[in-house]
């Protein structure tokens, strides 16, 4: 045999021997270090939406799936997937699902810029977080500042500033709660929507009636008429009516409560009614603007 053949042979043999030895070691190690993995984990993770929005208070869908399996976390905590996902997960886990309602945010302020009184021009950084540190921008220290921190954090284009107040688009909203965390005045709260439209209090001012009237044209004065109309459902705390949404039932006579309100703080919220949709149907859509891609727009905002 020539030298080159021998070298080739030995090289092949070396690699073969290494493969056998390493393979054996790794095979044994695989048995010794075996970690049992729950087969359901993958299936639960697959049935979750995978949006990783964090609304369930876990880092992502994977973490939540693990929490369901290991810690026995509730399967209804995913607001994005709603009842469909809960029942899918329940099927895998062998847990029956109680009726779950979608949780959606409610902005507890309805005053437009014009309706908020005692305003002072504000030229600082245009975020609510910064403006909230400065006093006297508007009379009401509880209400919406209208600078759109909540709009900026919404990944679903579901919250907009309309006439200077945050308005949620309940068709687009998935209830991830990003806006709730973003609001520095804490006037957005998560509420279970037991029907497409529910009644909610759209004011956060805890002052007495006279002071509220001085700073806002629509704010709640704490007159307690609504609580008298349905004392079971509504209690007045700090001059503000508070709904007990666990007792809320869409079949209740709720219109009475709204009719009793002398201000404009008791509002129906939720998906648009058929009448509203019919009204909007006649409106012409603005022409769609196609991007030209001619220039690059620098989004940086420079402020002195």
């Amino acid at each position: 045999m020539s030298a080159i053949t021998i070298t080739l042979l030995l090289a092949a043999f070396t690699l073969l021997a290494m493969a056998v030895v390493m393979g054996t070691i790794l095979g044994v190690a695989n048995k010794v270090f075996h970690v049992p993995v729950d087969v359901r984990l993958e299936r639960v993770a697959a049935s979750l939406p995978g949006a990783n929005c964090g609304a369930c208070d876990y880092v992502g869908c994977g973490e939540y799936a693990e929490a369901i399996l290991v810690k026995g976390e509730a399967i209804t905590k995913c607001p994005v997937g709603g009842p469909a996902v809960a029942s899918a997960v329940g099927e895998i886990m062998g847990v029956s699902v109680e009726e779950a309602f979608p949780v959606r945010p409610v902005v507890h302020c309805a005053a437009t810029t014009a309706q908020r009184l005692k305003q002072t021009p504000y030229h600082g950084e245009q975020t609510c977080n910064a403006a909230n540190l400065v006093g006297g921008i508007q009379g009401c220290v509880y209400g919406c500042l209208g600078l759109g921190d909540c709009v900026a954090v919404c990944d679903y284009d579901a919250i907009h500033m309309i006439d200077g107040v945050a308005v949620i688009d309940y068709i687009k909203c998935i209830g991830c709660g990003a806006c709730v965390k973003a609001c520095p005045r804490n006037i957005i709260s998560q509420v279970p929507f037991k029907a497409d439209r529910i009644l909610a209090v759209q004011c956060a001012n805890k002052d007495f009636g006279k002071e509220v009237q001085e700073v806002c044209e629509v704010g709640c004065t704490g007159c307690k008429s609504c609580a008298r109309a349905n004392p079971d459902l509504i209690s007045v705390v700090d001059n503000l009516p508070v709904f007990d949404y666990t007792k809320y039932d869409p079949r209740m006579s709720l219109q009475v409560i709204q009719d009793k309100c002398r201000r404009e703080s008791m509002v129906w919220l939720g998906k648009p009614t058929p009448t509203e949709l019919a009204l909007a149907a006649n409106e012409t859509m603005p022409a769609r603007q196609e991007a030209e891609f001619k220039t690059t727009v620098d989004q940086t905002e420079w402020r002195g």
Partner: protein, 231 residues
Amino acid sequence: MDYLAQLLLIGLGAGLIHNFVLYYFVGLCPFMGVSKKIDMALGMGLAVTFVIAIASTLSWGLTYYVLRPGAFLSSWALSLITGQAGEVDLTVLAYLVYIFSIASSVQFVEMYLRKYFPPLYKSFGIYLPLITTNCAILFACLEIMKNVVGVDTAAVWGLDKALVLSVGGGLGFTLAIVIMAGIREELELADTPKSMQGAPIAFIVAGILALAFMGFAGIDTSLGKLMLGGS
């Protein structure tokens, strides 16, 4: 005494003076990828050190007994086949064999961590299998090969020196990545220009760190003169 001094010089040289990351710029992938938090960086550094130690032991053994010309096992196999003594040079296989041993040891470490340190295993994520392709480890193996193949018989490195080099290099890598993570943790709070946020500023910081490590250059030669008496 000379022996200990030599070991010290090799270890110090690999860890500090000729730091794998900041002098030779190998192993940049985990250096950039896992240097966002100090505890994760420390875990990564120690995992790399562990893998480097296993892999270089394996590759030293393979180089010494199989690959180098006149190695014990290859000569024996040759005499078995041809019936006469001689030597075969199998160093062409070096890269293949090293990657093979590195990949196996990474697999081993991965299984071990998964069993006994699940949180560490989870925090590594994709970066643990990526140690396989960490050039710092292959670099250590090749450095060892340079001192085993093609040198005088008296100067051939034993396992002791190979291990000191690899562990020293691994600890140097740990040091570099932990320093980097510390800086990057502080950097999170800094008002970085938008165009510099994230990776760009990290690379600039790495460059400045490398400049700082240049200060160690030359220490080993003068230290060697001092300890080994000018040899």
